[in-house]
Amino acid sequence: MAQVHSTHGHEDNGHASSEILGGHQSYTTVTDTIADVVLKRPLGKAWLFGFAISFALLMMFLFAVTNLLVRGIGIWGVNIPVGWGFDIVNFVWWIGIGHAGTLISAILLLLKQDWRTSINRFAEAMTLFAVACAGLYPLMHMGRPWLFYWLMPLPNTMALWPQFRSPLEFDVFAVSTYATVSLLFWYVGLIPDLATLRDRATNPLIKKLYAIPALGWRGSAIHWHRYRTAYLLLAGIATPLVVSVHTIVALDFTIGIIPGWHTTVFPPYFVAGAIFSGFAMVATLAIPLRSYFGLKDYITDKHLDNMAKVMLVTGLIVTYGYMIEGFMAWYGANTYERYQMLVDRPTGAYKHDWWLLILCNCVMTQLLWFKSIRNNIILLWLISLVINVGMWLERYVIVVISLHSDFLPSSWGMYHGTVWDYMTFYGTIGLFMTLMFLFVRILPAISIAEMRELVHELHERDEARTQATPPAARTV
């Protein structure tokens, strides 16, 4: 029977295509192509090579962290007055990158942007891994990291609680909530696909491995019904969450009184900046991914074009944020803020970083106005890289330049990252890439179920257009 059914299984149904879904796709084709990347495709040389490099970086990270724990935070460049350096810069950078995933999945879902379907899965994965990297920094940057749990609200006999007025405490809750919700969102989306893999896997062991997380999903109509509601609601609550998380990260600075931190424009432009860098990272990853795994039909030029447009818009918002910072410093006539914004940043000891930041985030982004550039994959990829660098520099400028020259000139000082700072930073990139490489091998990088849905919807549209005979008639 099995083969009998498999023959029937091969009978095609669905049929659709559009600018966001290349080729002539059906339930079967989408299922096969995406699932086979995981189940059938052999390990490629390129994948092995990339994975090897990432893993090496990860090992370097472990080395750096070990040294950190043994010798102390002093191996980094941080000092008084610059008490935060690469640690917080990287934390904010990663958390920013971690915003695109949930944003794409949630907000675009609510906005019924069906082009999101093919990128949301790995965008969410990217979010998770980025947040994982981000979450490491607040732990590592503590003077006594082994006491990190003191930041958790653990009832204890000494009645010691965290200090709930501190933005760092906000962070603890915001980031952990964000990580948890993103994980749930991602996993819930995965359940039907895990079921698919379970049912397609031939190797009994692998079948088991997929069967366990699939939770015995059987695609029951009633289950689907609750599933859809839960998924939509998750999207609904994830959306304000995304905004709140980077707002709270912005509060880390705005609640401080340091000139260059203490400004109301931070929350909105931090959120914009997060989306900015997030989409840049998605593009950075999606472009090689789709060409290597031959998913061009699923991640089409239209997708990239849309992402480029989002980058352009958010880039402009960020630029506006910079302008407002400067204007407010001048208009507010605060001696210290004026000095920080109008003297120290453009002309001070760190002026090169500042100008480079302006070049990356404000100037380069303008190229995205031109369709020709948006559609030139190579250029787009390069620009996305530039934006990643630019957003890192933005955080560097905010954290380091603001701290290095605050109120009393007597205590001004300089900061430079040490070799250990760099090792840790590149190390987390290694961690991120390692997880990414593993992900694309063991889980469907594109949501199969949602692709089927997409096929279905597009198919329905075609039907409507061509007044074709009722589908039932086409059954043999």
Binding site: G74, G143, Q163, I257, T335, L408
Partner: protein, 1055 residues
């Protein structure tokens, strides 16, 4: 409190002790007075069964642990000294001596010795180990204050690198072996009347040592021996000047308090000299506005190298040494000193005339001072000037000499000693405390460098060296004897005015050290008498036993011997015509030698606290760069850290430069005390390899200044680290300064843009334009006149509110008078000693990780916001402790409540709770928080553990720390108050408690106390119209506020 505790010493049965001592022979070791007195109880414990003790030794109760440590270090000393006498050294407090309550310190009066002169101190002792040195209020030279060296001396005591055993030609040997050798030597030399014997000491004011020297040099012993005195940084010129002017030996004492106009000719009297603490105090009093100070003092300073005295001056001119001599001559002529040597040149300067006018206006109320760096001729001239101005007897008095002198014909300089050695006339040389190989003038050849292939001392058959350290001289001496630190030995010393103090030991010698008097007594009696009995013999005189006991007890208790001050001496000035006038050298650059502000002459080079203490003017740490002016730097194309090659008569020194605003043009200042190396035989782990050996260029003729140095840029660079990031105030309202005229016009000294001393309205206007935080402008009353009102419309939470309202309890506050602060940095070291603050080393300081809880900011006034300091800028100091803000930004951002506010208004740091996010430091606008990036505090070295203040926790890695207002002292005071008060009210009387910085401050610039006590000094200071808070516009409501600085410029010169 100290009254009760200090008196305890006197309560011992001293006649008993003395009897024991009289009867005893040979070296005495004792740990407690019980032991000395030999009570049976004590004897019994002494011979306890070992196991019993062993049990105690493993008991980790603090007191016994201390004994354990003590035992360890003493046993160490015992073993290395081959003195197997542990039972003499390790004696547990099985029954505590009288007054010893664990946890309650005792205070003993003693004296600290610098350059031979003494300054009274009170030493805090916890269960037999001294932990902190404070000034003795009843001592004329201290007046309750201390300088940075006295504060740091406690660390020298516990220095693990101190010399720990007698050595013979560098090999360990025993004290007994030395005694035998000395006795042989004695018999040999007695035959020759000591013809081959030479003594080398520093300045000696100790009556006991003086007495013994007299005996040794007396007819009975070594009449043919000679006594040479040498000090790399001392009082030779001053004393020579007096001899030159008066023809006799005398002590000149100046009285700043009586002077309206003081002119300093390169006299850095605030940081140099036996009366510096007293002078600083008097100067501060005379600078303070008020009814009792109608015409405030005016200080003119001419000096080549910027000093804190110059920074404090109302007028300062950077001049070369020759120009200063010319100024002296000009002044002399102007005030009517006729018989000047013909060689004396004059200086033509408009301001000089004004200065003379000012002097003549205040005859008898003026004072002209010449610095030690000036040749005797100038000192003589200055004495003449003062006489001409009628200051003698008023602001300048002459007394019998305080420092001991060798009998006629037996005194000699170090160069004469060198000649004698070369001529082979020296058979036995006793070096008592000196280190000539390191610090003697280089051409004499004590050091193996230069012309001499080996040290001159090797030519002497027997060299006996007594020193704290196993230093350069010890390496080439036949015998080296570890010297006892002044905190572990009996002795006596005189102050600037002759007042004598008995030095009493706080602890038995850690490393079996000896005193100079013990060595001398060996030569006299053939066996060393204990220093205690030697001192007693000096002071017994013809007193009866009972009288003497009373006298002795009182003297020890008071810390100063009643009416021991030197008698006034009437002197007549001799004509000056034939004095030898210093002849000007040739060469573009003048090379100046100055003591290092923190390491001095090198005697503190192994003291981490002082190495890491920023130099008051340059803020540089762990180095002694050559100081030059901006102009010179531009001419030679130099910037900070560029290495300069100096060549002076054949000797070469490569040293990095530091541009020092206010430095004289075409002059290079080298500070002494650095560049000690293992190869040269220096054994200090802290000081070795730090800085550059400037002594190598120093000669007899160019002792303080010389010309003819060749300057060459090498192009190499050297990392120099300063703790201050930026030298100007970039137009911010940080230090408020005004003139006494401004004050008369409007006592509220407003914000001073650019820190320029300018007229007040202008300042006010500009401040307003800048939106600076002047009280009126921001509507914030800096010292919280209405503390009960919340800031954002709520009341402070109980119980904070009621204390804050002044209803009950304590409301701590501090006021720092910038008018009094001279930037001497004693407070910084005091804070470090009190609060167990670690030393982090040059590299960490370079990374911006110094740990000082209290720092002193040094700003140069500039003409505009972005201007660089001028060639001779006004310099301002601002001590910055924690401000203890009522709305502390640091507390708001700590995620774990590790820093929170006490009901008494302290911003408290809970080390145990801190996880080290460092956000509090980032958010501190004053950047007073310090972070343990590594495990900074040394928790392994035994001897350093003894030094720690047991009331202050030693911080570990990853923890934030900062100024606590010495909360341990506050708590002690609160408890005492609570015990005293019937209703258990813990309110401390306003001035009953002092922070460490406050207690050390010579000028009493720092005032601290309970602001709820309206009569307290701090409450009054907060009412002072000059009171303002730093960065008030941030609304942090600091509990530490400042009093604006007032200067008293001569308008005739300003115009």
């Amino acid at each position: 409190m100290s009254n009760r505790t200090r008196s305890d010493f006197g309560s011992q049965d001293l006649s008993e002790l003395r009897r024991k001592l009289a009867g005893s022979s040979g070296p005495q070791y004792w740990r407690s007075l019980e032991e000395l007195a030999g009570t049976e109880e004590f004897e019994r414990y002494l011979h306890r069964e070992f196991p019993e003790q062993a049990a105690e030794w493993h008991d980790p109760v603090g007191r016994r642990q201390f004994l354990q440590l003590m035992g360890a270090s003493l046993a160490l000393a015992g073993v290395s000294g081959c003195v197997v006498r542990p039972e003499d050294k390790i004696v547990p407090y099985v029954k505590a001596p009288e007054h010893v309550v664990p946890g309650k310190p005792l205070y003993y009066a003693s004296a600290a010795v610098q350059e031979g002169y003494g300054s009274g101190i009170l030493v805090e002792s916890h269960l037999g180990r001294p932990t902190k040195v404070e000034g003795n209020p009843s001592h004329p030279a201290s007046l309750g204050a201390t300088d940075l060296f006295t504060q740091a001396s406690i660390l020298n005591l516990y220095d693990p690198d101190r010399s720990q055993s007698v050595t013979l030609n560098g090999h360990l040997t025993s004290w007994d072996a030395l005694l035998n050798a000395l006795i042989d030597l004695r018999t040999v030399q007695l035959a020759k009347k000591g013809a081959g014997v030479r003594f080398l000491t520093g300045t000696v004011t100790s009556p006991t040592v003086a007495r013994l020297m007299d005996q040794v040099l007396g007819p009975k012993f070594f009449p043919q021996a000679r006594w040479h005195q040498y000090e790399p940084v001392g009082h030779a010129n001053r004393r020579a000047g007096i001899r030159l002017a008066t023809g006799t030996d005398a002590e000149a004492v100046h009285h700043i308090d009586k002077a309206d106009v003081v002119v300093s000719l390169d006299a850095d009297f605030l940081s140099w000299g036996p009366s510096k603490l007293r002078d600083a105090r008097n100067l501060a009093i005379r600078r303070e506005p008020g009814p009792e100070n109608k015409n405030p003092i005016r200080l003119y300073v001419v000096e080549p190298t910027p000093s804190i005295t110059g920074a404090t001056a109302d007028h300062r001119w950077p001049l070369s040494s020759e120009e200063i001599q010319a100024v002296a001559a000009t002044l002399a002529r102007a005030v009517g000193v006729s018989d000047l040597p013909s060689a004396a040149t004059e200086l033509k300067a408009p301001w000089l005339a004004t200065l003379v006018a000012d002097l003549q206006k205040s005859k008898g109320k003026s004072l002209v001072l010449a610095g030690e760096t000036q040749p005797p001729a100038i000192h003589a001239l200055v004495h003449a000037i003062n006489q001409a101005l009628g200051n003698v007897g008023q602001t300048l008095t002459y007394h019998e000499p305080v420092a001991a002198l060798a009998p006629e014909g037996q005194s000699g300089s170090i160069s004469e000693l060198a000649d004698d050695i070369r001529a082979g006339r020296v058979e036995a040389l006793f070096i008592l405390g000196n280190n000539p190989v390191y610090d003697a003038p280089s051409e004499l050849g004590f050091a193996a460098t230069g012309a001499e292939s080996s040290s001159l001392l090797l030519k002497v058959p027997t060299v006996v060296h007594l020193g704290l350290f196993n230093d350069e001289t010890a390496q080439v001496s036949t015998w080296h004897i570890p010297e006892a630190h002044f905190l572990e030995s009996w002795g006596d010393v005189r102050a600037f005015d002759g007042s004598a103090t008995i030095i009493q030991p706080l602890i038995a010698p850690l490393y079996g050290g000896r005193t100079a008097s013990e060595v001398l007594s060996t030569l006299i009696d053939g066996t060393p008498l204990p220093s205690r009995s030697l001192v007693e013999d000096t002071w017994r005189g013809n007193r009866s036993d009972s009288d003497f006991t009373a006298f002795w007890t009182k003297s020890l208790h008071d810390g100063v011997i009643a009416d021991s001050a030197a008698k006034p001496k009437s002197v007549s000035l001799k004509p000056l015509a034939d004095i030898s006038w210093p002849k000007a050298g040739t060469g573009k650059y003048e090379l100046l030698f100055r003591p290092d502000p923190t390491i001095w002459d090198g005697s503190h080079s192994n003291n981490g606290w002082l190495q890491e203490l920023p130099k008051p003017m340059t803020r540089v740490v762990w180095d002694n760069p050559a100081l030059i002016s901006k102009k010179t730097a531009d001419q030679e194309g130099l910037k900070d850290g560029d290495i300069l090659k100096l060549t002076l008569n054949g000797r070469i020194l490569k040293v990095p430069v530091w541009v020092n605003p206010g430095h004289a043009e075409d002059a290079i200042t080298l500070t002494l005390g650095f560049g000690r190396s293992e190869d040269a035989g220096y054994r200090g782990r802290v000081g070795a390899g730090v800085g550059f050996d400037t002594y190598s260029l120093r000669t007899q003729n160019g002792f303080w200044s010389t010309r003819g140095v060749l300057v060459e840029k090498t192009g190499e660079n050297y990392p120099l680290y300063s703790t201050q990031g930026h030298n100007t105030m970039v137009g911010r309202d940080l230090i408020r300064t005004g003139t006494h005229a401004d004050y008369a016009h409007d006592p509220t000294i407003g914000p001073t843009p650019y820190g320029v001393v300018m007229h007040h309205e202008a300042a006010g206007d500009h401040g307003a334009a800048n939106g600076h935080g002047h009280a009126e402008e921001t509507g914030i009353t800096p010292h919280g006149a209405d503390p009960a009102k919340g800031l954002i419309g709520f009341e402070y939470p109980e119980p904070y509110r009621r204390r804050n309202d002044g209803e009950l309890g304590n409301r701590w506050g501090m006021s720092i008078n910038l008018n009094a602060c001279i930037g001497c940095a004693a407070c910084v070291v005091a804070c470090q000693a009190e609060n167990n603050i670690p030393v982090v080393g040059k590299d960490q300081v370079g990374r911006g990780r110094e740990m000082h809880w209290l720092r002193i900011d040094r700003y140069y006034a500039t003409e505009s916001r972005d201007a660089e300091p001028s060639a001779n800028p006004a310099t301002h100091f601002q001590p910055i402790p924690c401000m203890h803000c009522e709305t502390a930004p640091c507390e708001m951002v700590c995620p774990v409540e590790a820093t929170s506010h006490s009901a008494e208004g302290l911003n408290e740091m809970t080390y145990n709770r801190c996880v080290g996010t460092r956000y509090c430091s980032n958010n501190c606008p004053y950047k007073v928080r310090r972070f343990n990036f590594f495990q900074y505090s040394d928790q392994l070295t035994e001897s350093l553990k003894l030094q720690r203040n047991p009331d202050v926790s030693v911080r570990t890695r990853g923890v934030m720390e900062k100024c606590t207002y010495c909360v341990q002292r506050l708590t002690k005071a609160r408890i005492e108050a609570q015990i005293k008060s019937p209703d258990g009210n813990d309110a401390v009387p306003g001035d009953a408690v002092a922070t460490a910085c406050q207690q050390a401050c010579p000028t009493r610039a720092i005032v601290f106390g309970n602001m709820n006590d309206r009569s307290s000094a701090v409450a009054k200071a907060k009412e002072d119209p000059r009171n303002y808070s730093l960065l008030a516009e941030l609304n942090t409501r600091p509990r530490t506020t400042y009093l604006a600085k007032l200067t008293n410029p001569n308008t005739a010169i300003e115009a």
